[in-house]
C-alpha cells in the first residue's frame, strides 16, 4: 500500500448565481457567475506505476479511458513537463454526473494539482490553470481554489474571499439534464444586463437556466418548490442539483430530512478556499515539519 498516496479532495462547487450576458463570435456563451466550494465531493488517490503510463483503477463507469478527464489531465501534465512518471488513478465518486456540481472538472483539477505536487513538477498554479482550461472551462476555478466572481466563458476570475459561508442543503432530483438542450432552448435568457460584484453582493442575480429546467423537467420544479418551503432554493449550473442556504448545520439537515425519500442529497459547508488548496498547504506544512 505504500505506493498509494493519501486521498486528495475533489470538492463540489455551487453557482450562487448564473447569467448569460451575450455570445462570442464562435458561439460560446458569455457568462457571469459566482463559484463557491463545498467541503464535500469526490476524492482521488494516486498509485505510482513504472514506465510513464497513466491508467485508472476499474470503476463502475462506462466512460472510455481516453475520454476520461482525469486520465487526460494526468497525460497532459506528463506531456507538458516531460516527466516519465507513471500513475494509476483511483477516483472515489460521491458527486453525481450531470449534477451542476462540477464533479468531472473538479476531479481533473485535483489530478493536475496533486500530481504536480507529488511529482514535484514545479508548475505554478497559473500554469496548471492554463492546462486545465484546455480540458474544460470550469477546470481553472477548481485549480485556483478560491471562491470567485467569474466572467468570459467562466475563466476570468476575481477572488471573493469574504462571501458568507452558510450550510447548504443540496438535493438531487432523480433526472439527468441534457446541458446542450438547455443551452439551445429558445426561451433561455441570453441578454442579461451585466451585473457588478456589488450588485451580486446586495442580492441581485438568479440562475437563467432555472426557468427552462423547470419547464422541461418537472422533477427539478418539484425539488425547487419543496426545498423553497425551508429556504430560498436555486439551481446550480445547468442543474439538476438544487441548493438552499441555512445559518447552521442542524437546520440544513432538518430540511433535507423533511424532503420526500426518493431524492438523494447532502449537507455541506460553503468554503471560500477549496479543500484541495487546504490539502496542498497541509502537505507543504507536513513536509516542512518532517
Amino acid at each position: 500500500m505504500s505506493r498509494v498516496s493519501e486521498s486528495w479532495p475533489a470538492p463540489a462547487k455551487l453557482n450562487l448565481f448564473l447569467h448569460i450576458i451575450g455570445r462570442r463570435a464562435d458561439g460560446y456563451h458569455l457568462l457571469q457567475t459566482v463559484f463557491q466550494f463545498l467541503d464535500y465531493g469526490d476524492s482521488l488517490a494516486f498509485e505510482s506505476r513504472p514506465g510513464g503510463q497513466v491508467s485508472r483503477a476499474e470503476g463502475p463507469r462506462d466512460l472510455p479511458e481516453a475520454d476520461d478527464l482525469c486520465v487526460r489531465a494526468a497525460r497532459l501534465l506528463l506531456q507538458e513537463t516531460g516527466l516519465r512518471e507513471g500513475v494509476r488513478l483511483r477516483l472515489r465518486k460521491r458527486l453525481p454526473m450531470g449534477g451542476g456540481l462540477g464533479g468531472g472538472s473538479s476531479d481533473a483539477a485535483t489530478v493536475l494539482v496533486a500530481l504536480n505536487a507529488l511529482w514535484r513538477a514545479g508548475l505554478t498554479t497559473d500554469d496548471l490553470a492554463q492546462l486545465g482550461l484546455r480540458l474544460g472551462a470550469d477546470v481553472p476555478v477548481f485549480v485556483h481554489g478560491f471562491a470567485a466572481w467569474a466572467e468570459g466563458v467562466g475563466e476570468r476570475l476575481t477572488p471573493l474571499p469574504d462571501l458568507p459561508v452558510p450550510w447548504y442543503a443540496v438535493v438531487r432530483p432523480t433526472v439527468a439534464i441534457a446541458t446542450a438542450e438547455l443551452f439551445a432552448d429558445p426561451k433561455l435568457t441570453r441578454d442579461c444586463v451585466p451585473l457588478t460584484i456589488r450588485d451580486f453582493l446586495s442580492g441581485a442575480g438568479g440562475n437563467v437556466f432555472e426557468p427552462v429546467a423547470r419547464a422541461r423537467y418537472p422533477a427539478v420544479a418539484q425539488v425547487l418548490d419543496a426545498l423553497s418551503a425551508y429556504a430560498p432554493a436555486r439551481l446550480t449550473g445547468t442543474g439538476a442539483c438544487v441548493f438552499a442556504a441555512f445559518a447552521d448545520e442542524a437546520s440544513a439537515r432538518d430540511a433535507l430530512r423533511a424532503l420526500p425519500g426518493e431524492w438523494s442529497g447532502f449537507v455541506a459547508r460553503g468554503c471560500n478556499t477549496s479543500p484541495l488548496q487546504d490539502r496542498l498547504r497541509r502537505m507543504s506544512v507536513d513536509e516542512g515539519a518532517a
Partner: protein, 201 residues
C-alpha cells in the same frame, strides 16, 4: 522510490501527529468539531461503501472485496473474492442475521460475527464495524481511549478491546469519511480500505 517521496514524509508526519506543526484546530474548537462530525455521521441512516479488507489471525490470513449497504438499521454485506465471485452474503439487522455462503447454504443467528465464524471459519466484527468504518465509536458502549487528529476526526479509538487507527480520510471536515482503517485485537489484525463512499441524507 522517487515518485512519491513526498508520501513517505507525509506518512511520518502523520505518525507523529500532534507534535508536528500541523495547522490543527485549537483544542476546544476541535472537541466541538468532533462532536458535530460524530452527530452528522450518526444522523445518516443510509450509506454504502465499496472496498476491501485484509484479515490476519495469528499466521492465517484472508483478503476479500467488501460491499456494504445500510438503510434504516438493515444491512446487506457482500464479501467477494478477487474474481468478483461471492464468498458470503450477510443480510439482516442487529439481533437477526442471515448468511448465505458460496454454495447457497443459509445460516441464521443473532450475531453476524458468530455466523461467519461458523460458516467461514473466520469473522469480521460486524456490529462494531458498522460504526467504526464510518469513523465513529459504537454509541452507548464505553470508549476505552480516543485521540483526535487535529482536525476534529478520530486518529485512534479503543473500544470493545479493539484498537483502531485511522490512516486516511477523504476530506478534512465534517463530511470526512475514513478511507483506510487498521484494527487490531490480540493477534487479530484487520485492515479495511474504502474505494467508494455513498451516503445520502
Amino acid at each position: 522510490m522517487r515518485v512519491f517521496r513526498g508520501i513517505a514524509a507525509l506518512g511520518l508526519a502523520l505518525t507523529l501527529a500532534g507534535c508536528a506543526n500541523l495547522p490543527s484546530l485549537p483544542q476546544g474548537t476541535e472537541e466541538a468539531a468532533w462532536h458535530r462530525h460524530e452527530a452528522a455521521i450518526l444522523a445518516g441512516t443510509q450509506w454504502s461503501l465499496d472496498g476491501s479488507f485484509g484479515l490476519r489471525v495469528g499466521h492465517r490470513g484472508w483478503s476479500a472485496g467488501l460491499r456494504w449497504r445500510e438503510a434504516d438499521d438493515r444491512y446487506h454485506i457482500d464479501i467477494y473474492d478477487p474474481l468478483g465471485r461471492t464468498v458470503a452474503v450477510l443480510a439482516g439487522r442487529p439481533g437477526d442475521v442471515t448468511l448465505r455462503d458460496d454454495r447457497g447454504r443459509s445460516y441464521r443467528a443473532s450475531s453476524a460475527a458468530g455466523l461467519m465464524k461458523r460458516a467461514l471459519g473466520w469473522s469480521l466484527p460486524v456490529s462494531g464495524l458498522r460504526y467504526w468504518i464510518r469513523g465513529v465509536p459504537v454509541p452507548g458502549m464505553p470508549v476505552e481511549a480516543r485521540r483526535l487528529d487535529g482536525r476534529g476526526r478520530l486518529a485512534q479509538l479503543r473500544q470493545s478491546g479493539w484498537d483502531l487507527r485511522y490512516q486516511d480520510y477523504d476530506y478534512d471536515t465534517v463530511n470526512a469519511r475514513p478511507m483506510r482503517v487498521v484494527m487490531t485485537h490480540g493477534d487479530v489484525r484487520l485492515v479495511v480500505v474504502v474505494n467508494q463512499w455513498d451516503d445520502r441524507g
